[in-house]
């Protein structure tokens, strides 16, 4: 069969038709591309991952720590990246993933801490003077957030008792009240009335004097970053994380139980003690298990966050369901 060369088809006719087809496809493709891009950008703008900035800051200098770790068994410390990018610090943001970026320029020097109230030798420490009280020790503690997640953090710090001994508490002193800095020029979320600022926390004096209770100024051998409570924070490993108050400016010894921020906000949900306890649920969620950051699935939460042997004696005879 003879196949004729199709020179009878007019060239112009063919291109016209394909152009017509191409244009239709092109427009539809463009509409799809444009809308999906817009949806994608909208998703990116509204979902908080985009706000995450890797934390670096002033981590060059390291603190030589004396290794006196209370390592939690075979549990691995949480990564530096996770510890410094997932923070509850409502003065900066209520979005745990956004705190690092919001707190990036927080000024932590010069910094003074007033230790006052029912003490024989009240004193305003400047930070460097305060850090000289005791050599830094590394303490690897579990941190259990009341929200149901946890980390293992290698803190650097020294026992709060060392500081309290220096100011000599008077005999009437029964509680210690801690106050966080509230500086609206540096803390963007202070404008909101979410909580009653400044943030206040408190401990019973015997809890404050307990050897596990530390003032921390570093982690992973480096000075604290703002999102972790720089330059000085409390760490009470057997209590829910919010008790471990950040960026402290005042430590006041008092006679009566101080009014603490979360307790005042919702007294039936957050007790003054707030000891980690898998048997006492938060009214709205269970505290029996926790999600360890970096792990899949959930772990059982331990009584006193695994420090019962050391601290249970502080609460002997107390009904932990009443004094939660």
């Amino acid at each position: 069969m003879l196949i004729r060369k199709p020179d009878d088809i007019k060239f112009a006719e063919v291109t016209d038709e394909s152009l017509y087809f191409n244009r239709r496809t092109f427009i539809r493709g463009a509409v799809l591309a444009a809308t999906t891009t817009a949806t994608g950008l909208l998703y990116r703008a509204l979902s908080s991952t985009s706000k995450q900035a890797p934390a670096e800051g002033d981590t060059a200098n390291t603190i030589a720590g004396e290794y006196r770790a209370l390592a939690p068994g075979d549990e691995q410390p949480t990564s530096f990246e996770d510890i410094t990018n997932y923070n509850n610090f409502y003065e900066f943001s209520t979005d745990k993933r956004a705190v690092a970026a919001e707190a990036r320029n927080f000024v932590t020097r010069p910094w003074t801490v007033s230790v006052e109230g029912l003490v024989h030798k009240p004193r305003v420490f400047d930070l460097d003077g305060l850090l000289k009280i005791s050599p830094p020790e590394e303490r690897i503690y579990r941190l259990r957030c009341v929200e149901g997640w946890s980390m293992v953090i290698p803190w650097l710090g020294f026992p709060l008792a060392q500081l309290l001994k220096q100011v000599e508490p008077q005999s009437q002193a029964r509680y210690v009240k801690f106050v966080t800095l509230a500086d609206p020029s540096q803390m963007p979320n202070l404008g909101s009335d979410l909580l009653d600022w400044p943030y206040v926390e408190g401990l019973r004096l015997d809890e404050a004097m307990h050897p596990l209770t530390i003032l921390s100024h570093g982690l992973y051998g480096k000075p604290l970053l703002p999102q972790n409570g720089a330059p000085l924070r409390l760490v009470v490993p057997w209590k829910y994380g919010f008790k471990s108050i950040k960026s402290i400016i005042t430590i006041r010894l008092v006679e009566d139980m101080p009014k603490t921020t979360w307790n005042a906000y919702a007294p039936h949900e957050y007790g003054f003690y707030s000891n980690v306890n898998p048997h006492v649920d938060h009214p709205r969620w269970s505290q029996a298990t926790e999600r360890r950051i970096g792990e899949f699935g959930r772990r059982d939460t331990l009584l006193f966050n695994g420090y019962a042997e050391q601290v249970a004696g502080l609460y002997s005879g107390m009904d932990l369901k009443v004094y939660f």
């Binding site: 999906t36 979902s47 993933r97 009341v146 970096g294």
Partner: protein, 208 residues
């Protein structure tokens, strides 16, 4: 009525975009320190977003006079169900490790789980009756009445969200405000319709 086939295809593709990006971010470890929580929160938020979008269709088409917008409503609703199912899956998988036996206890213990579960159960019959065949079988009127449950599901979704937030309730409040406005519009519209039916027909030109 307008030919909306291509427009619906565009909506279909766009609805999956958040899931694709979520998967992409998860694959590249860009969901932060608590990726499981992030996936759970994101799928939950998307459920509410699509549910509210589906409920916005009716007021929008009436206010703008664009009746063909109705053609998008069912797909938005089905997407709400789709993301709701993923949200439930993350809970059963990440939180319960597929120990389904632990779920009833959890529902009793954690009221916000109970509320969320109820909201999802309400969406279930709506998703099942979302096909053309089911609309025909039920008849438009009955179908419409059944699908009013979407408002209740949205309300339960907002309450579920609001209950689990620690202090910053701004977002759940915003979602609640939208549900309130949409529900308010429908109620007012229904009242006006009823008063028109009961009262003698208003004079021509009199505005209601």
């Amino acid at each position: 009525m307008k030919d909306t086939r291509f427009a619906r295809f565009v909506l279909l593709v766009n609805g999956i975009v958040p899931l694709v990006l979520l998967g992409w971010d998860a694959y590249h470890h860009r969901l932060g320190a608590n990726p499981l929580e992030f996936i759970t929160h994101t799928t939950g938020t998307l459920t509410l977003v699509f549910l509210l979008l589906s409920l916005t269709v009716t007021p929008l088409r009436k206010l703008l006079g664009l009746p063909w917008l109705i053609r998008f409503r069912r797909m938005l609703g089905v997407y709400a169900f789709f993301y709701g199912s993923l949200h439930l899956l993350t809970y059963v998988w990440f939180d319960k490790s597929f120990k389904i036996g632990a779920v009833p206890e959890d529902i009793l213990k954690r009221p916000f789980i109970a509320v969320g579960m109820l909201g999802f159960l309400l969406l279930l019959p709506l998703a099942i009756t979302s096909t053309n065949g089911m609309v025909k079988r039920l008849g438009g009127k009955r179908w419409g009445r059944l699908h009013r449950a979407a408002y209740l599901a949205a309300l339960l979704g907002v309450i579920h969200y609001w209950m689990l937030v620690k202090a910053d309730t701004r977002l759940p409040m915003a979602f609640g405000g939208v549900v309130g406005a949409l529900l308010g519009y429908r109620l007012v519209a229904a009242l006006i319709r009823r008063s028109r039916r009961l009262a003698p027909a208003p004079e021509r030109g009199e505005s209601v």
